[in-house]
Symmetry: C2
Subunit: 342 residues, 2 copies
């Protein structure tokens, strides 16, 4: 049986209260006693028991605020599912969530929402937002005021966020190209890239990974056109249609982010789904349907549910370790999905 705080107290000849004070670096213990207790705890290899900790700490429940721009973006539904699953598992341990789901990428709106979560009494935050200076400042401010923040799905570079939980965008792009190269196309690739936004670092990294791997594998390709869908299917449809009509030689469409339905609608309407290779990222229901319908050949996923789930687990562990743990980034796997393993 593992060593308990009681045994340490007995061995050190002090009370359990004192041991607890020492172990939590709380004031009110004579330095020499503190040192003595610390030594004994170390010698005995003391590791606090989580079950006891959890039960006792129910008096200070943990409220986690989750911010995400998921309205109108099915992708985030899976992240929320992960959040909720973690909440269900940890609710008995005193964890509850407040989820703030908004639409779009307006910086002011994001800052206001994040700040209001913090003001609303959350003990920690999970945020999926844009990596720009104003937001980084906001996040740093929150961390300074004692609210740990986990960056979910999109990292916040050079901030004091606790850690990043999300995918490796570069690897995702590389994987798309790697799989494409295995398919050893007969003719040179005439490529149309439909990205989400050229302002989104993740999207650009996917493209960078994609093209660098194509070059490395010496796959001949020509980039015919690139456009931004702005996460809007109608817009994506128009742009795709225009590009395909203007450039009938296009034989491969790489959908980097949202807009999948729009892009594919154009492809199908022009009767090109048989002769155009279509690759995409992420795995929402419309994407799955398009794979089943034979329009999309494969998609590269990033385990969004796992991202939400892990972020909460990491925060919980962090609190349970007295905010001492300094968790590592958690990078979800790059998942290849084709019809058969959907």
């Amino acid at each position: 049986m593992a060593v308990t705080i009681r045994q340490i107290a007995a061995a050190a000849g002090v009370s359990r209260g004192t041991v607890d004070r020492v172990l939590h670096n709380r004031p009110g213990v004579k330095p020499e006693i503190a040192e003595h207790v610390r030594r004994i705890a170390d010698d005995l290899g003391f590791l606090p028991n989580r079950a006891g900790k959890i039960l006792a700490s129910r008096k200070q429940p943990i409220r986690v605020g989750c911010f995400l721009p998921g309205v109108g973006n099915l992708f985030f539904d899976d992240v929320v599912r992960g959040y909720r699953r973690a909440e269900a598992e940890l609710s008995d341990f005193g964890v509850s969530l407040v989820i703030k789901n908004i639409r779009g990428y307006d910086a002011k709106t994001h800052i206001a929402a994040i700040s209001s979560l913090a003001a609303g009494g959350c003990s920690a935050l999970c945020v999926s937002t844009i990596d720009i200076p104003e937001i980084r400042r906001t996040v740093n401010g929150l961390v300074d005021s004692g609210i740990p923040v986990v960056a979910v799905n999109t990292d916040l570079s050079h901030t004091k966020r606790l850690c990043y939980v999300g995918c490796d965008y570069l690897q995702a792009g590389r994987t798309a190209a790697g799989l494409l190269s295995l398919m050893s196309p007969r003719e040179p690739l005439n490529l149309l890239i439909a990205t989400g936004s050229l302002n989104m670092k993740g999207h650009n990294e996917r493209i960078r990974g994609f093209s660098s791997t194509l070059r490395k594998k010496e796959i001949p390709y020509r980039l015919v056109d690139v456009f931004e869908s702005q996460d809007n299917d109608d817009h994506a449809y128009e742009m795709t249609r225009g590009a395909l009509l203007a450039h009938p030689e296009i034989n491969c469409v790489y959908i980097v982010a949202a807009g999948v339905s729009g892009v594919c609608r154009a492809i199908v309407e022009l009767g090109r789904q048989r002769d155009i290779l279509v690759l995409s990222h992420d795995e929402i229901e419309p994407t799955r349907r398009l794979i089943r319908d034979g329009v999309i050949d494969f998609t590269i996923g990033q385990e969004p549910e796992e991202q939400g789930y892990r972020a909460i687990q990491i925060l919980f562990d962090y609190f349970m370790s007295d905010r001492r743990s300094s968790p590592k980034n958690y990078i979800t796997r790059t998942v290849i999905k084709i019809l058969e393993n959907l």
Copy 2:
């Protein structure tokens, strides 16, 4: 705050002890009172708090015995890793493991090992074994004597095992073929199949899924040869070498189970790695190396670590729910791995 056993006791005008007895269907409570308490518990939506339960139940720690034939089979190392990770996470909750790792598939040895785990005071078992009558009988006997058994990686058909935690072999085979079909080979496939054993249901299911999907996709193929590696690399090497020499037209090798290193050694030695498509299952270190070396084109994995981890979690939840939960099978994902997403 959730409703506690105390509140039920108060509401029902009885003691906490009585409530506990009712909730656990223990004898010694007048039926009408029991009914009354049950009603109140339902009305209040009582859900026992896991933290409390866990702490209290440390007096009866849970010992799980894990049996697997993993000696000499790297695949099982990952399953064990999953077992150990679950143990580490749950050790504070009173869970400990006894892992019995043996070599080979001799039925008598398996039965002896499994029985000895049960006799050794385990409260539950995880077993990866062969699905044959003698073993099914043994498992049923254990379950009858009150030891729940989870079938890990290989199901035990028509037994009283709690549930199956493992992959979908049929889907794995289908996915291999699906990906192969995306690679749209220029010439008809002349196929060599290297299976583990024709006695292993899982291996056969992979082959069945594989060939049915090839047919469905109308990929022209001819099965040139099939052999059993018996999980032995040297034997696999000899057989592969013989087949390739006898049939130089072979242009695709499907490695269904262990023996990957042996098969690939023959391919490389004969200088055929450039012109033969090589697909495999599972993802052990030699397989990864062979993918990096460009010998294997892709492999289909089954998340073995997740299997071990989940099996323990499921058993723990089962005990925490007073053995009432009757868990569902847990099927791990069919994972496609290529060089870029290894």
